[in-house]
Amino acid sequence: MSFSVTEASGRTKWIAGILVVGYALITIAPLVWIIATGFKSGPDSIAYPPKVVFEPSLEGYVNLFTDRTRATEDMLEEAGPPETWYDQIARDQGTIITGPSRYGERFLNSVIIGFGSTALCMLLGTAAAYAFSRFRVPLKDDLMFFILSTRMMPPIAVAIPIFLMFRQLGLNDTHLGMILLYTAVNLSLSVWLLKGFIDEIPVEYEEAALIDGYTRFQAFYKVVLPQAATGIASTAIFCLIFAWNEYAFAVLLTSGTAQTAPPFIPTIIGTSGKDWPAVAAGATLFLVPVMVFTILLRKHLLRGITFGAVRK
């Protein structure tokens, strides 16, 4: 049998495969559990021993999106027969729907704040990274260190000053406030990551574009940006994940108007104690946007093959 340095032998491949699959199963288990709980009925969700096989139910999702009240016989009679499938599910639990829940709004807040801060962060981060990479900026190294140093302590360490500042500025519980805050926290990461990516793009391309009759901004836009797509995509995913999942500041600084989904989901309470299927349904839906965003940008993440048309 021939020996190859780069190609693993059959047995090694098997062992590697088993290890990878085993690790994947372990890491994916909590996720599967959350998704499954979202489709359980209330009693099933807290059954002991836990039910692995269960009758699927949309109870969690209906409860997530509605406010309900426990119904008496009179109320049920007054309301007449259930009009829709979700009415039916509510009735089956002995409740009637009184209106939509706040989850939709909170979810929309998360979308606005998460994507808004990511977009702002990319705009400012790319511009700053380009300037640091290409121009003679006075005190460049010190500034870069300063930018990095803003990440040296956990953001929540400055929670109280930020709380006071926000109150003074009227930014408490506003979308703008949360967008600015998440942008400020993420900007250091995005400047550093993007500067690395832009440094890798040879300056000769821009020089060629300048000679070809384009301005510096057009050269940036037409030549640098497309080549920095990989870096911008991966940095954007990092920024979105942070802003999307952030909990501590959201609890502290938002209560109503601008409250995002993370502080809202744990507060979902059914008519009798914690409504675990609704909480799990809320968490499951909450995972979707980041996943979709990552999948959409996957093309750019994998396309790191733009190098090679400049002779080194």
Partner: protein, 331 residues
């Protein structure tokens, strides 16, 4: 097309002086080749004219207009980069179209198509137009990079060793092609090379640079036949000029430290005795490696010579160059 004037151009990078008081006039429609070893300031000169770098001192005019403070786009120059610099996210066609689509030119699509097809034909890359720029060989990239300059009609073309990574045949083809494009269009062309054949065959003028100084500027013939120094003399000529102590043959003028002999300045069959060390048959000519009074000399002889190592050849100089101790030409 335009005349380019450099006046007193000085450029420093930190402590290194890249260009030292360079003054040169590139006449309208001329093909000027800059010669010199790495670090002599050839590429820096191109970058000064292009506007990618600004000189510390001195001024540059193109077509009589002062270029100080103007961007490369405003100067209307086209440049072929030594590193190709093709846009990697574009196809060959998009690369060639890019300058024509610039906000300054805004060429109609029909003209773009015609121009690109024409240039691709000349550069023998028609079949590669829809390839990604990164999917080309080095020689193909270099041709696309030349093409990106040739699609335009700028005031000046600047070319930084544009033929360096082509094979010998293609290089010879493109030498002729570039020369005829330049001659037909009357374009002004500033060209950097190491290759003296390119300099001799294409240039109307040659500028010899040494450590950032322009040491001689003139026609290739002039520099070959009338070099101002040992340095300028050794830029042109294959095999290289032989530089020997001045007194080796006698008859040197006073102050002469060395004598310069090109092969055609060495008469064989009379004069001092020299020993044949090696005979190189190159086909159309034969090179003789001689030792005369313990100095090595390389010269050219009849292609079908009977000489062999160990033979004795008598040589004497004919109209040689004499240089003083600093290397400057005396006579």
């Amino acid at each position: 097309m335009a005349e380019v004037c450099l006046t007193g151009i000085t450029k420093r990078f930190g402590k290194d002086v890249a260009l030292d008081d360079v003054t040169m006039t590139i006449p309208d429609g001329s093909f000027v080749v800059l010669l010199g070893p790495t670090g002599a300031g050839k590429t820096t000169t191109l970058r000064m004219v292009s506007g990618l770098d600004a000189p510390d001192q001195g001024r540059i005019t193109i077509g009589g207009h002062n270029m100080v403070g103007l961007t490369p786009a405003q100067r209307d120059v086209a440049m072929v980069f030594q590193q190709y610099s093709l846009y990697p996210h574009m196809t060959v066609r998009q690369n060639l179209e890019f300058p024509l689509k610039s906000p300054i030119l805004r060429t109609p699509q029909a003209d773009i198509d015609r121009k690109v097809a024409e240039i691709a034909e000349i550069l023998q890359i028609s079949s590669k137009l829809d390839n990604k720029a990164t999917a080309l060989s080095g020689g193909e990239m270099q041709r696309v990079s030349i093409g990106r300059a040739l699609v335009r009609n700028p005031s000046v073309y600047l070319m930084d060793e544009p033929l360096s990574s082509l094979d010998a045949k293609l290089r010879a083809d493109l030498r002729l092609e570039l020369k005829s494009i330049q001659a037909d269009s009357g374009a002004t062309l500033l060209y950097v090379t190491h290759d003296q054949i390119e300099a001799m065959t294409m240039a109307t003028h040659v500028g010899v640079l040494d450590k950032g100084r322009l040491v001689q500027f003139g026609s290739p013939r002039e520099i070959y036949e009338n070099p101002v120094s040992i340095y300028a003399a050794s830029r042109l000529g294959q095999p290289r000029i032989n530089v020997l102590p001045a007194d080796i043959f006698g008859g040197a003028p006073s102050g002469a430290a060395s004598i310069g002999l090109r092969p055609e300045q060495i008469v064989q069959g009379e004069g001092e005795e020299s020993l044949v060390q090696r005979v190189e048959h190159l086909g159309d000519q034969t090179r003789l490696h001689l030792t005369c009074k313990s100095h090595d000399i390389i010269t050219v002889t009849d292609a079908h010579t009977e000489l062999k190592p160990g033979d004795i050849v008598r040589i004497r100089p004919r109209n040689p160059f004499y240089f003083d101790a600093t290397g400057a030409r005396l006579a």
